[in-house]
Symmetry: C2
Subunit: 79 residues, 2 copies
């Protein structure tokens, strides 16, 4: 995976997180309150700044109230 591909992956994942959060009408603070992730960290993840770890993916899923695998569902086509 090239650095460029990794950038695209991070952006794509972040966009997915944000779309799901907004679909559920949740604020960053509401999500962070449900999963112990700092709200500013979640904002940065949504902006594609981090190549998040497995545990963080699981935490995000918990905060969003959905299954972890759904957070990767959109990656199936391009990666």
């Amino acid at each position: 995976m090239t650095p460029h591909e990794k950038e695209i992956l991070k952006k794509k994942f972040g966009a997915t997180i944000q779309r799901i959060r907004k679909d559920k009408r949740l604020t960053l603070r509401q999500v962070s309150a449900s999963c112990q992730l700092d709200n500013s960290k979640i904002a940065k993840i949504e902006d594609g700044k981090f190549n998040v770890a497995l545990s963080t993916i699981v935490e995000l899923a918990r905060g969003l109230g959905i299954a972890p695998s759904l957070l990767l569902a959109e990656l199936n086509q391009e990666f």
Copy 2:
């Protein structure tokens, strides 16, 4: 997520990777050849030693020839 929960998560994920690889009758070196991940690294991941990053999950999926979300499918019940 407590340190203990994180340990369980890593072990669970590693076990999933290994099961899928063996179901497909692939060796560590065969998987590594398909995804540019070091074979010893994959062995350690299977042993639950790493809290792998998103990009590594995607790489593993590529090496195993399956969709990334399938690697998290088993986590849905317990996390």
